[in-house]
Each structure stands twice: as structure tokens, then as C-alpha cells.
């Protein structure tokens, strides 16, 4: 059973890594950001599966930290877009 959990973790990481092709293809920075966001979520899922397959203490805490920090990259990015082009409707 634990091997199956690890296999699922590997499958998710491989799938999400293929999604990173969107970083190369773009065309916009928003699309690139979405690929990275998918990598973040996939990383959380893979870490949780690894934590339950190996029973190494602390791995699920890493997933918790990743989940906490996942939103900040996008928020910083959208703020950067607003800075670049100026707030128009405030």
C-alpha cells in the first residue's frame, strides 16, 4: 500500500512537471504563474502522500508550510502588475 502511495506521489510530480511546459510557452506572464501555482499544489499533494507512505515525522508540516506560503507568490505578482501599469479605478 505504501508503495502505491509513493507511486501516486511520483505520478503527481511528473504530471505537474510536464505542466511546467506552459512556463516556456507562455504567452503571458499570468500563464507562467499559473503553471508554477499548479506545481505548488502538486507539491503539497506529493508531500502529503510521501508523509503517509514513509511515516517520516515532519513531512506533513512541510506541506502545511507550503500551503501557507502558496498564495504569496501570486499576490506579489499581481501587485507587481498593478505597479507596472498603475492603479486605474481607485
Amino acid at each position: 500500500m505504501n508503495e502505491l502511495l509513493l507511486a501516486a506521489a511520483g505520478l503527481i510530480v511528473v504530471t505537474v512537471a510536464i505542466g511546467l511546459a506552459r512556463v516556456l510557452r507562455g504567452p503571458d506572464d499570468v500563464d507562467r504563474l499559473m503553471a508554477v501555482q499548479l506545481l505548488g499544489t502538486g507539491g503539497i499533494a506529493a508531500l502529503l502522500l510521501t508523509a503517509y507512505a514513509t511515516r517520516v515525522p515532519g513531512v506533513s508540516d512541510v506541506a502545511l508550510g507550503l500551503a501557507l506560503l502558496a498564495a504569496f507568490a501570486t499576490m506579489a505578482f499581481v501587485n507587481l502588475l498593478d505597479d507596472d501599469e498603475g492603479e486605474t479605478d481607485h
Binding site: L5, I18, T41, L64, A71
Partner: protein, 95 residues
């Protein structure tokens, strides 16, 4: 762990992996940014949600199970707010 619990875990985690796969395919194949955002939300909410659901019966204690649910809730919260932020940026023509 009972065989029934294992079966439940396998089915739920398998469905979660499928949704991650579907999200990736959508991200790569959909024609514009808003539809890609839609595909991404499915992977975030359903993919991770089903993986968490599959792991819940394997949690050693109530605290571990609660931690899993908290992680999923955090991802739901951040996924919903970042999707709104990205959608707003796209609507204003900022890419």
C-alpha cells in the same frame, strides 16, 4: 488497516491523481488564460481534496486528520483568492 479502508484510499487518491492530470492537460491545451485558470482551479480544489480524502482514513490520530483538513482548507482559501486576483488582472488587460 482494513482492506475496505485501503480500497477507499486507493479510489480517492486515484481520482485525485486524475484531476491533477486533467488540470495539467487543461493548462497545456486550453486556448486562453481564463479557461486555463478554470482548469487550474479544478486541480487545486478537487485534486488535492481527493488526495486528502483518501489519506484521512490512514491518519494515526485525530490531530493528524485535522492537519490534513487544515492544509486542504488553506489551499482552497488561497486558490480562491488568487484565482480572483488573476481573473481581475486579466480583465483589466494586465498580463
Amino acid at each position: 488497516m482494513t482492506a475496505l479502508g485501503d480500497l477507499f484510499s486507493l479510489v480517492a487518491i486515484g481520482a485525485g491523481v486524475f484531476f491533477f492530470f486533467a488540470g495539467t492537460v487543461g493548462l497545456l491545451r486550453f486556448p486562453d488564460s481564463l479557461t486555463r485558470l478554470h482548469a487550474l482551479s479544478k486541480a487545486d480544489n478537487l485534486g488535492l481534496g481527493l488526495v486528502v480524502l483518501g489519506l484521512l482514513p490512514r491518519a494515526a490520530s485525530l490531530l493528524d486528520a485535522f492537519k490534513l483538513v487544515v492544509i486542504w482548507a488553506l489551499v482552497l482559501l488561497s486558490g480562491a483568492s488568487t484565482a480572483q486576483l488573476i481573473g481581475r488582472a486579466l480583465r483589466r488587460g494586465r498580463k
